[in-house]
Symmetry: C2
Subunit: 141 residues, 2 copies
């Protein structure tokens, strides 16, 4: 098991490659995602964006999230209860441990688990397209 390292993708490059226009709101939003080391939801991204350009709308945040998710540039997480939270893709795949008291998210990765998942899917006659592993825990005192 290893903790993952943050890396900064070049979203503008990715967008251009996908033939998507680079506009001011999009530039600001991807900038925010690039700088974020947490897992903000749409509203939080909107707040950070508005601090830079107050004319940005929440709709555009949602639209941009969908767009980026579509080209695989970000991942959408639906942790229990709350709204979707987003995270830049492009780093190594990892799973999440969510602190149920603080909401903090810790990333981790286990090749053993991934391997077991594949075995299980195969035994059931499936190929895994993607998966979701979330541990909800409390800090040991």
């Amino acid at each position: 098991m290893t903790k993952t390292v943050i890396h900064k993708p070049n979203y503008e490059e990715e967008l251009r490659r996908a033939g998507i226009r680079i506009t001011r709101p999009r530039r600001i939003i991807v900038g925010i995602l690039t700088e974020s080391e947490d897992h903000p939801d749409a509203l939080e991204i909107f707040r950070r964006a508005v601090a830079i350009d107050s004319s940005i709308s929440l709709s555009t945040v949602y639209r941009t999230m969908k767009l980026l998710e579509g080209i695989g540039a970000i991942h959408r997480h639906a942790f229990e209860g709350g709204p979707s939270r987003f995270e830049q893709a492009g780093g190594e795949h990892h799973d999440h441990l969510i602190d149920i008291d603080t909401g903090d998210v810790i990333e981790f990765k286990s090749d053993r688990i991934e391997q077991l998942q594949n075995e299980i899917a195969r035994q059931l006659g499936y190929d895994i397209v993607h998966h979701r592993l979330e541990l909800y825990g409390r800090k040991r005192s």
Copy 2:
């Protein structure tokens, strides 16, 4: 890895033990959950309930789901995109493989994975309160 076996809990007994009144809507709703071998959402449970007693309201379904979840009698799943889906608890713990083409849910269980999860959490300084493992896959052809 093993597939889990369905078993029928006595919800009325559980409710009584928890000091919760057994009303007509509740009896109908838990009856539906007992018979269900799928993972219906609130609206689907509502539809099945209305077929038995047309006076039942969707609010009551939601309230009952929350109640049953509170006493640990059912589990709430938030599979990607859709609304919460429910399943009777009381059987053995298991995880889910979701067929991305049909929405079918297959239950499975892996002690090895559970064990690895615990190790990981411990290494990160946490105790797992619960977890969620979902494999999204496509039938191998």
